[in-house]
Symmetry: C2
Subunit: 243 residues, 2 copies
Amino acid sequence: MTSEKDGTLHSRILADLEGKILSGTWPPGHRLPFEVDLAVHYGCSRMTANKVLTQLARAGLIERRKKSGSFVAQPVAQAAVLEIHDIEAEVRSLNLSYAFDLKQQKARKASAADRQRLDLSAGATVLDLTCLHRAGTRPFCLEQRLINLDTVAEAASADFSKTAPGAWLISRVPWNAAEHRIQAFSASAEISAALEIPRNAACLVIERRTWGASGPVTFVRFTYPGDRHALVARFQPGESPAG
Amino acid sequence: MTSEKDGTLHSRILADLEGKILSGTWPPGHRLPFEVDLAVHYGCSRMTANKVLTQLARAGLIERRKKSGSFVAQPVAQAAVLEIHDIEAEVRSLNLSYAFDLKQQKARKASAADRQRLDLSAGATVLDLTCLHRAGTRPFCLEQRLINLDTVAEAASADFSKTAPGAWLISRVPWNAAEHRIQAFSASAEISAALEIPRNAACLVIERRTWGASGPVTFVRFTYPGDRHALVARFQPGESPAG
DNA sequence: CAGTGGTCTAGACCACAAG
DNA sequence: TTGTGGTCTAGACCACTGA
């Protein structure tokens, strides 16, 4: 019964079922009781039982099939939530002072490479930015960014020497879709100079493409000294990553 | 009005509200109509309106406060779902043939380093595995793994020359928690020999610690040639990553 | 065809926090 | 104090799908 008296009714039922699944009492493939039976067993209405099963299904712990019932799912893909923080917040959480230098800011016609990176049509103009984020006095991360001036025209006249482009953009284009790409590269001459690391040192590179409601917004590449930086992602079954 | 006629009632309402938020019609901080008003406006019951708002809140698009109402949230952390696939599936999705070589398999007392990696107490025994995953004939990824024999005793007598350890484990310890760590490293002598890449070439390294219901299960380090491999993560606001 | 999940309702009570 | 979200119910109809 795992009777826990805390929380709401359906969260208690949820915890009970989760325990049975995660502990292996109900192995993958096992059929759960029907909604009606759960409702009787826990003394609740069918809607409440349904809510619990729906939540378990959303979390990927069970699979529901009409006419057959609900079954404990086979664990498949290892999915994990990767939190890509704001760099300033990231630095400050290390108890280091944060600073950034704007190293370059230039508006220009989009080159072929730009258009591919930003998913643009010909003739578009972009703002090309480079800035260095510092933790304490050490270089922390090099940011190379393109901003689509067709979508975010105000960027052309913005002052990025005080406000980092990332923070500025989030206030202009609050909600957007993004695609991240994580790779390892050897430091080029430019990178090694900027980050003050040896030539060819391994670097962790995160590229992000961002789209807003009105089209492509920005492409940005963050380059971190590889041995000093790690991305961490956790996975906890049953907890919806969004929760 | 974004009126879409497909799907259920609450999914249509959801799409409508999502559109207003994502397009900026309702900017961050804007107060949404109350549940009762939404119910009236869409001609549904309050429960249905509640379901929609609850879902928006779970997705992080709105924030709900008692007595005050529901508000469009400030976009904060860039969270993305990182899918860490099974290596065999990953290779096959590239239309390449998959193979792996078991290069080492040795049971031993856990060293101090092992105990730290696997979160073990003294005196534990581990199985130390090394295997190379191939795509076509080229090395694709080197897997270095420790398995906690106190938790998964059957591993000691398992045959890993046919079944890759990852696939074997998932059938034994179906549901587990995991922590991933992603870094860039220069190839050591061992790595460069195994992956057939130059010494000090940049490598993408993914480390995973896994816990089951009965304790630490395994620690694994995947090393990929950095310039040939990328992790991709997507983020779509409004969609729950678990969905 | 029958039983399951999917959805929706109209109404209810409660806890909580803002005014 | 009062209005809001949070939760729960008993019952209903539908769509799908497996037997």
